[in-house]
């Protein structure tokens, strides 16, 4: 598989510039808050926007080189771009949409994506999941060297999203071209990509596997982006090389990491246990507080207890018989916490 290489690609955004170097082999997700320049970067790779500087190449093909003045037109780049709202041609049928990219083997792509029965339909008559399959079939029918996906799951409702995410994951695994996708949702990124790059305020904060980002977030932004609770407080080191952190609300939390002074502690919701009576186990940290809110996420439930949010299964919640307003115990191990750098 050839590697897509972005070398110091600089794109101007509304109030700052994004400069990024990235090597894409396999599937890479670019995540960050909206307005971070993710979509602009995809457009730059596709040739729809011109970077101010840097270079974009794949194998020995140079698509953009600011210094040498190379800027290939989109139709000369062999990219498959799946737009956020899919951008299917509304005046053409599904078949005509796919044929637009590939006149001869359209049938093959219709079959491969399970949309042959829709070939005569207009895009307006399709469901969100079907539109995405047509958009993918059309983009791949072009026989691209790179596949670009712009927020591939954001146009879908929560109900269809889970299923489509699974389908998309299998499809991307089976492709033998680099895939660059952008999303503002870490869960989507973790589910689809081998590697995740977090960009904030025009710079790359961290690159790694989803597991690496969760276990060793580079700073508090990455930690909260990956779903962690962030606890701000003042740390005092203890004799055994660990630390105690006094939070702003007075709660004292133990961490296994060494720390001193103003710090941020990250703790993931799935590392927090919830109980209705005082637990007796090895966990050093026990927070007793009323449940502020209960939010359902599919078969999981997120409970806000004091300064933290815990994630447990709906089954566990039913067994505990807890509801919003009830007093509960949230416990987590000192080794489950991470001291992270404060996000500037």
């Amino acid at each position: 598989m050839a590697t897509l290489v972005l070398d110091r690609v600089t794109v101007p955004l509304r109030s700052f510039e994004l400069e990024l170097s990235l090597a894409v082999g396999g599937t890479v997700a670019l995540v960050g808050p909206s307005g971070a320049g993710k979509t602009t970067l995809l457009r730059a790779v596709a040739g729809l926007a011109r970077p101010r500087a840097g270079s974009i190449s794949i194998g020995d093909e140079v698509w953009f080189d600011g210094e040498r003045g190379v800027h290939r037109a989109p139709e000369q780049r062999r990219v498959g771009l799946v737009f956020q709202e899919y951008a299917l041609f509304p005046h053409m049928t599904v078949r005509q949409n796919v044929e637009y990219a590939q006149r001869h083997a359209a049938r093959e792509y219709l079959d491969r994506f399970g949309i042959a029965h829709l070939e005569g339909a207009r895009p307006a008559a399709l469901s969100g999941g079907e539109k995405q399959r047509v958009a993918l079939a059309r983009a791949l029918a072009r026989d691209p060297a790179v596949l670009l996906l712009d927020e591939p799951l954001s146009a879908l409702d929560a109900h269809t999203k889970a299923g489509v995410r699974g389908e998309l994951h299998d499809l991307l695994r089976a492709l033998d071209i680099p895939v660059l996708l952008v999303t503002h949702d870490f869960e989507d990124a973790a589910a689809l990509a081998d590697r995740v790059s977090v960009i904030v305020d025009g710079e790359l904060r961290q690159s790694g596997t989803p597991a690496e980002l969760v276990s060793q977030p580079a700073d508090s932004f990455v930690a909260s982006f990956t779903g962690a609770n962030l606890l701000h407080g003042r740390a005092e080191s203890t004799r055994n090389g660990a630390a105690r952190v006094r939070l702003e609300d007075g709660t004292v939390v133990s961490t296994a990491d060494p720390a001193e002074g103003e710090v941020v502690l990250a703790i993931y919701p799935w590392d927090i246990t919830v109980a209705s009576v005082v637990p007796h186990d090895s966990a050093l940290n026990v927070i007793r507080a009323p449940i502020r809110s209960v939010a359902e996420l599919g078969n999981r439930v997120r409970l806000a207890i004091g300064p933290v949010t815990a994630e447990i299964t709906a089954e566990s919640l039913a067994r505990l018989g807890l509801e919003a307003g009830h007093e509960a115990y949230a416990t987590f191990k000192a080794t489950g916490t991470r001291v992270v750098a404060r996000h500037r």
Binding site: R43, A46, G47, L48, A73, P74, E75, R77, V79, G80, L81, F83, E85, A87, L88, F89, P90, H91, Y100, A101, R138, A139, R142
Partner: protein, 276 residues
């Protein structure tokens, strides 16, 4: 009680307005029996006016579409310094009194005009020729097409054109296979408006081209010329123009409906949302 009175007021106003708009049309047909209409179709004045009108209008509209479509696409899809000024200039003939437009054309292309001497050197005389009629019609009618075309192009989703490019189509294929079919309805609506304005052209034409039978005398000019000579001919020509206007009105409605069904943006007539 008050609600009922309000409803009566609305209905009465609507009925009066519609009757007012329809009455002159009905009156023309009340005065013209089909037999009289057919009889006048062999009147040389009427036949000549029909030929002059069709010939000059068709050529003028062809010029408007050929020059106006790329102009509208450029103005709709690119932002450049002076863009707002360019859009305003395109609309200038719309607010200019037609007689002033005629004087302006005479001052530009007339024998003593700005470009007149250059044309003279080439052996071309424009004023008071059929070409002058075509130029006058193109001048006053073009803003109606171009404005509608800009709105139609602006209503097409730019990501569709972008998608076309990433799928391997160059700018030309993208324009003809994606942009143009999506803007088609709005362009047809614009053409219908421009056609209607061109057929009704009077002021600029009489100033710049005069009213010579079989040469520059269009329907609108012939109706005025025949007014105190042959009222039957006037009525017959008016009746023909009414029928033609109904056809254009239908084309306008169909065009706007197409535009609505094929574009992601809201359809508009002069940038106003048209919902019927």
């Amino acid at each position: 009680m008050r609600r009922a009175a309000l409803a009566v007021a609305y209905v009465t106003a609507t009925v009066v307005a519609l009757a007012f708009l329809l009455l002159p049309i009905v009156a023309i047909f009340a005065h013209t029996s089909p037999a009289k209409l057919i009889e006048q179709l062999s009147n040389p004045v009427v036949v000549d006016a029909l030929v002059v009108t069709l010939k000059t209008s068709l050529i003028a509209q062809l010029l408007i579409v050929l020059l106006g479509t790329p102009t509208a696409y450029l103005l709709a899809s690119r932002r450049f310094p002076g863009h707002a000024l360019a859009v305003t200039l395109v609309e200038l003939p719309l607010v200019l009194p037609p007689a002033v437009a005629g004087i302006g054309l005479l001052a530009a292309f007339g024998r003593l005009g700005l470009l007149g001497s250059s044309f003279e050197a080439l052996g071309i005389t424009l004023p008071f020729t059929q070409t002058a009629v075509t130029i006058a019609v193109a001048y006053v009618a073009s803003p109606l097409y171009i404005r509608q075309a800009i709105a139609a192009f602006e209503a097409t989703d730019p990501s569709l054109a972008a998608a076309s490019r990433t799928l391997g189509a160059g700018p030309a294929r993208t324009f003809f296979r994606v942009v143009l079919p999506l803007a088609r309805g709005g362009l047809i609506a614009g053409l219908a408006l421009s056609f209607a304005r061109g057929i009704g052209e009077f002021g600029a034409t009489i100033m710049f081209a005069g009213s010579l039978q079989a040469v520059t005398q269009t329907f609108s000019l012939a109706i005025y010329a025949e007014f105190d000579r042959n009222f039957d001919a006037t009525l017959a020509m008016s009746a023909l123009l009414v029928l033609f206007s109904i056809v254009l009105l239908a084309a306008l409605r169909i065009g706007l409906t197409w535009q609505r069904s094929s574009s992601t943006g809201s359809p508009s007539l002069f940038g106003l949302s048209s919902s019927s």
